[in-house]
Point group: D3
Chain length 133, copies 6
């Protein structure tokens, strides 16, 4: 199994509902270091999983709508805590849609799985990985 992973980051504000979160129930923020791994059984005729430049562009586009924002103000998140775990799945879904739409420059069915990893601090990170088909 081959994988190519590209990385970028965003800086956001948010708060959490639930006693389990303790002080993180207050409005605070995070720098999220985000990595997106594209996984394939075979390389394409150019010898790549997907083009790294294009993967960077797609990741940056997906992150752009969140960057420098207060996630508490997003209607689509109003029923959810925007935890690091939650956001790995949110970004997975956006990237999966891009893969299926051929935006990575390769027939999406040749990308078998994605993994999205978010580092929230030097000592904590989360990831979500699943097959695409």
């Amino acid at each position: 199994m081959f994988a190519v992973e590209v990385s970028d980051h965003i800086m956001i504000a948010h708060s959490f509902r639930g006693e389990v979160f303790g002080p993180a129930q207050a409005l605070h923020g995070a720098t999220f270091a985000v990595s997106a791994a594209f996984i394939a059984e075979r390389l394409d005729p150019n010898g790549i999983v997907v083009d790294i430049g294009r993967a960077n562009d797609v990741l940056k586009a997906v992150l752009g709508s969140l960057n420098y924002r207060n996630l508490d103000n997003f209607p689509e998140f109003k029923n959810d805590n925007t935890t690091t775990e939650f956001l790995t799945k949110y970004l997975f879904d956006k990237l999966a849609a891009a893969v299926r739409a051929g935006e990575l420059g390769r027939d999406g069915r040749e990308i078998s799985a994605l993994r999205v990893t978010i580092g929230e601090s030097p000592t904590a990170r989360a990831w979500y990985e699943a097959p695409l088909w």
Copy 2:
């Protein structure tokens, strides 16, 4: 599959028995950078795998009995080399017990697997990963 991983470190002394270890047969030591990943199929109603704060506390408690110690003096290790690999499994077992006892604040059966990674130097690390049930 979702995962949340927290990190901490310990500083220990130990020695190894066996010619394969060369100079590491002498008493030496290591800073072990330890990461514990908790893996689950689904997020809980709060949108988390486990609470990161609680995961940090459980990891610190498990590491506390080893930190600043000479592992050669532990009766429970008297038949084993406390290699980096061995310790990944030792910590896995301790963390698995904590998960099963509900110490992570979630029904342990909802945590499907654990992965423990130990970095022993900038150029070497080991990990152990297994399902919990």
Copy 3:
């Protein structure tokens, strides 16, 4: 010149005033990876600049009042942008006071300078360094 540096992190929300900040004028947030270096001409009789455990405690105490907070709500910051640079100096002043008060466990006059470094993302950081006396 000897130095000992300890590290920790905080997660905060804030916004900036001024067109130069572009999208960062909106409420957003950051994980700040903070390092504090204590600088001395000579080691003490124990062979240390300051005790690393105590330095960690002092840094954690100084960071505690900011962690998981929205810095826009702090009256003491109402005339300032809480930029990464600004916060390096803010933390320097707090740590300098702790050194002068002997909280690091050594006569403060034996600590000649401090450097506070804050990493705001994988690609940007700031620091402030100055003599203490």
Copy 4:
């Protein structure tokens, strides 16, 4: 499942054929940070997957033929783009042969899989993982 991973690096020149590569069609180069993970179901009687020192030596030997070279001049690569992904598989095959030949100091059949990871920059990496038997 246990794993031990060792790391090293090489500095090479190369160019790519194919419009997808844009400016990387020109002769350029890379520092490749290479990690090789050896994966096993069980530890050996010494409590290791493989000896880390020996794993480092085998990895260094495999990398030696590429280091400080222009990969465009290698006859064995004349039909391929030596992309990061391609090289993960190339190194996998070399390391798999070493495992099968017993060069890691353990019966090769006890090593169940390998993963080779190559970091090409702070924001991009690739890996190849497969069973050995």
Copy 5:
């Protein structure tokens, strides 16, 4: 003294003349992780040394002419080995010119010094630091 540092990277090919370089006399390459630190006595009225976004843009522009190139083909380098050290000074001069021309968005005389750091591998880096005035 305040400093703000931004980072980016380039991937280049080159070779060296001189027996001291051993195998690096052959055409090879490098990923250079480049950091540029802008140093000032005082923050500006916005509370910054320079805008991080603008600093990133200036650094990217300076690096753009080198990225994905064979430095052996640059007439301006024909009398020099493009070592990591040499390139720290080359980039320093380009960035110093940008500072003096006001491209960082602040009166250049308020920037007192620059430091350019280049990491060539996980185990080697170089830097050049000098006052600007």
Copy 6:
């Protein structure tokens, strides 16, 4: 001012005397990530501060006598705590002697200063920097 810095690591055991050290009074150990920076006003005719390969060899030779050892058994350390700070100065003195003896392949008087940095854990490091002449 130019600098070139190379890195390596050692794994040692030791203990400390003095109540300030708390649990570190017991025999424990550390992986020390050691960086040695060679600082010069001017590059040599090859365009380098010192040859990176040779700097790596000198650092490795200096570290070799400590690696995989219990520092409590070294007669030369019997009056000292082998703290991270103490060891930065110890290694500085060894490297300074190597520079003065011309072992770095350049007239030692052209190397103006050294800085030795030791990382003892992900959250603590120390350094010693001084002029050589």
